[in-house]
């Protein structure tokens, strides 16, 4: 999928084109309701979880097609998509009030702050917010791929830039208390995760 947006940069006067290509995501060896980032429709996994590719009856119970296709709890889908839907609503409000440029700029900043898949994982030496405050937008666009904040996929990330952009560093909710990913007891296997991210 191709995104194209043409608009004027904030401080500069030139035009720039912003494109990104979303990679197809194949979930190998993982199951359950994993929604694609853009769709809110659940995608059923085909491979059962557990060692040797067999259903782990002790932990997840007996196999049932219904369990794989339908959410087991009424809140499951709405919680999974909550942040996305909030962002959509906020961006559309922003677009209606301030014009197309406002949500575009913000979305660009979000993408750079997230743990995105990129060709070259490079750790940025400069803090992201510094860049966005003091550099003209056109320079940023050309250099965006270099200055993306990156962490290797199996490492935990505090998502500080994303939190600051969203304003969730001033709020506390259940996602800060329950199931803190920083305290997760399992870690993915580094080699597998990096290969998967790089599409090898």
């Amino acid at each position: 999928m191709h995104y194209e947006a043409v608009c004027k940069g904030g401080a500069s006067t030139g035009y720039f084109v912003y494109t990104t290509r979303r990679k197809r995501i194949y979930k190998r060896n993982s199951r359950g309701l994993r929604s694609q980032l853009k769709d809110s429709v659940p995608v059923a996994g085909l491979c059962p979880q557990g060692a040797y590719g067999v259903q782990d009856s002790l932990r997840s119970g007996f196999t049932s097609v219904k369990n794989e296709l339908l959410p087991s709890h009424p809140l499951e889908l709405s919680e999974k998509n909550f942040q996305l839907n909030q962002d959509k609503v906020n961006f559309s409000t922003l677009r209606n009030i301030q014009g197309l440029h406002a949500p575009l700029k913000l979305q660009m900043e979000y993408r750079a702050a997230r743990q995105v898949m990129a060709v070259r994982p490079i750790d940025s030496p400069f803090p992201l917010t510094f860049l966005f405050l003091y550099s003209p937008l056109s320079v940023l666009m050309k250099g965006a791929s270099v200055f993306q904040i990156q962490r290797l996929p199996f490492l935990p990330s505090s998502n500080l830039a994303l939190d600051t952009l969203r304003g969730s560093d001033e709020c506390i909710g259940f996602e800060d208390i329950l199931c803190d990913p920083g305290q997760s007891e399992v870690m993915g296997e580094p080699h597998m995760m990096v290969e998967y991210k790089l599409g090898l």
């Binding site: 040797y52 087991s72 001033e170 259940f174 597998m192 995760m193 998967y196």
Partner: protein
């Protein structure tokens, strides 16, 4: 060798992995109930009076037919000028009010102001609506801020009501009867306290889920007076948490001293390194 899997870290927040298991368990157990969450079958009430707000609550927490907590604190602190009574599932009200309190304290640290009651109500409303009633918290928020004295109720689905007097919980019908009869605008402090006390008392008498003591919390511009307990139940028992007796409580009958003879077998001196 076991197949390595690419790990999808579960997102932060609620984890619904056990929901399917619980449904399956309930089907299997076949009549026997899964353990019920601790509910506060409750009577809570609030009244706006001339100088502020009076909140009242009973102190019983039930777990089905058993009284789980006789001195449950149902009036929760939200901010120095806002307190909240909670009815419904005990854990839900506790956690929700804790989160609300944290959010408001972050706000007041950022802005240097005391939060307003409407802010608390809005945060609660958003939070409870997001979870579509799965968080069973019926809350009465009362507080005094720069715009006056306010009393709000927030339901588990996010419904909000702003009223001058209010009762919630399983004993709310009895309490509301007393409040409807006795409420007048611009009550004095003592009248308001007596009104709330009698309404909670009516709730305790008429409802099985409410009982034991009555707590009262008075919020005014000058400050908060949290009286716990305001009225103790007549059926209080004499059991203590700690049983400590003065030395000499048990009388000494006889005393016999035997000297223990020790023989020094070996003596070794080791110098301590005090550098």
């Amino acid at each position: 060798m076991a197949l390595s899997t690419v790990l999808e870290t579960p997102g932060a927040g609620f984890n619904f992995e056990n929901a399917a298991r619980n449904v399956a368990l309930q089907g299997l157990l076949d009549g026997a109930q899964t353990p019920k969450p601790l509910k506060t079958g409750t009577t809570i009430a609030g009244v706006v009076f001339k100088d502020g707000v009076v909140l009242g609550a009973d102190t019983r927490a039930t777990s089905s037919e058993v009284v789980a907590d006789k001195m449950c604190a149902k009036i929760h602190y939200i901010s120095p000028n806002i307190y909240c009574c909670g009815a419904g599932t005990a854990a839900d009200t506790e956690k929700t009010t804790d989160l609300l309190s944290s959010n408001l304290s972050i706000f007041s640290l950022n802005s240097g102001r005391n939060p307003r009651v409407v802010m608390a109500v809005n945060i609660l409303q958003d939070m409870l609506y997001r979870y579509h009633g799965q968080i069973g918290a019926n809350l009465i928020l009362g507080g005094v801020d720069c715009s006056g004295n306010h009393l709000y109720t927030v339901g588990p689905y996010g419904s909000v009501n702003k009223v001058p007097y209010l009762a919630m919980g399983s004993g709310d019908l009895a309490a509301l009867g007393i409040l409807e009869d006795g409420f007048k605008h611009n009550l004095e402090l003592e009248e308001a306290k007596e009104l709330v006390r009698s309404s909670i008392h009516a709730g305790i008498m008429s409802d099985l889920g409410s009982g034991n003591n009555i707590d009262i919390c008075v919020i005014t511009k000058k400050g908060v007076d949290y009286i716990r307990p305001y009225q103790e139940s007549e059926y209080k028992d004499k059991r203590n948490i700690k049983y400590r007796y003065r030395p000499g409580t048990t009388p000494v009958l006889t005393e016999k001293v035997i000297a223990l003879k020790l023989e020094v077998v070996q003596e070794a001196v080791q110098k301590m390194d005090t550098a």
